[in-house]
Every structure is written in C-alpha cells, then in structure tokens.
Amino acid sequence: GAGVSQSPSNKVTEKGKDVELRCDPISGHTALYWYRQSLGQGLEFLIYFQGNSAPDKSGLPSDRFSAERTGGSVSTLTIQRTQQEDSAVYLCASSLATSGANVLTFGAGSRLTVL
C-alpha cells in the first residue's frame, strides 16, 4: 500500500480481555517495528522484525505481549489479559532494510483504552 496501515484506530476494552492490533507495512519494506506511546511519554520500543531473522523482542514489557509477522508482511501485536497500564497508542513503522539508515514510516497508530 501507499503507507503503513494500522487497525483498529481505536479500541476500548475491559481489563482482562485480550486484544489484537494489526499493522500492514509498506509493500517491500522488510523491517517492521512496534512502539508504544503513553500520554506525555516518548516512544517506547516493543519489537522489531527484519526479514526472516528472529525478531528482537527485547522491548516487550511482559509475557502478556506477543507479536508475529506472517509472510514477511502483516504483523499482529497481541496483548493478553489487558491491564489499565496498557492504555496507550501503539504505533507501527516500517522501513527499507537496504536504506542504510533508519528512516521509518509510521502508521496512524491504534489507541488502546483499557477500562
């Protein structure tokens, strides 16, 4: 697609429920990142996918968080047993691995509210 597409744009859920957030990166971008941005906070790195390499999961805050990327394209971030502190905007970004740099193109984000 022309840009990075994320869905849903807004999600309100009850504490304890599971949620899935989807990211469709720019076609041909082999690198995909998930970030979390809480109100008034900077971008918090969650996970990074690069081609067929094992993902860098070092930013996932707990084992309730997981992500996968199927076929080197679409990625899903899953949060199990959501807690109120999970409320944030979840941003996905992709980049060309061969760019030699880190120019990321971001999606519009998924705003998660846990009641």
Binding site: G42, L43, D56, A108, G109, R111
Partner: protein
C-alpha cells in the same frame, strides 16, 4: 546507557517567530540522527543527519548536526500555526533500535 535529551520540553511562540529546538545525545557507535514531526498520531519524517556541519533544509525548516559536541538543532523560521506539533529526535546506534527523545511540544499562536 544510550540516551537522547530534547529541550525545551515545550514552548509557545507567536506566528512569525523563529524557534530553535535542541537534541543532545549519548549513543554508542552513532550512525544517524533523525527528526520527526508528530501532529496527531503518526510521526512524519523531517530530516536525517549523518555528517557534521551539513545543513539540511526544507522550506522554513532546517537542521544541522554537531558530532563533536553530540547535538543537533532544528530551526523553524517564520512559524505558522500549522507548525504546532511535537518534534521528536531519534538517534540510531549500533543496532537498528532508534533511541528516542521525549520530544518538544511547540505551540504557535496566531
């Protein structure tokens, strides 16, 4: 520990003013510094800087990097209300995880 510090955290100016936003960093094996503008949700790319002393310019925005003193500035001249946003600075080090600053929130009043 790698870190990126932006200043000021926020400022409000009048249309037509010139502003300078600062980004200082301590990152192992520096590769590049990037500036992004975040208006609502998605940060949008402004500049990538890799070499000292070479100004990048786009319209009323410009940026420069000093790799000796480990900082970058983002200048906006003749500010407009549409410049109101959070400006984010990020630095790429040895791996592909960008280190992000907290951003500078800029408000431009008419």
């Amino acid at each position: 520990e790698d870190k990126v510090v932006q200043s000021p955290l926020s400022l409000v100016v009048h249309e037509g003013d010139t502003v300078t936003l600062n980004c200082s960093y301590e990152v192992t094996n520096f590769r590049s510094l990037l500036w992004y503008k975040q208006e609502k949700k998605a940060p949008t790319f402004l500049f990538m800087l890799t070499s000292s002393g070479i100004e990048k310019k786009s319209g009323r925005l410009s940026s420069i990097l000093d790799k000796k003193e480990l900082f970058s500035i983002l200048n906006i001249t003749a500010t407009q209300t549409g410049d109101s946003a959070v400006y984010l600075c990020a630095v790429a080090g040895n791996n592909r995880k960008l280190i992000w600053g907290l951003g500078t929130s800029l408000g431009v009043n008419p």
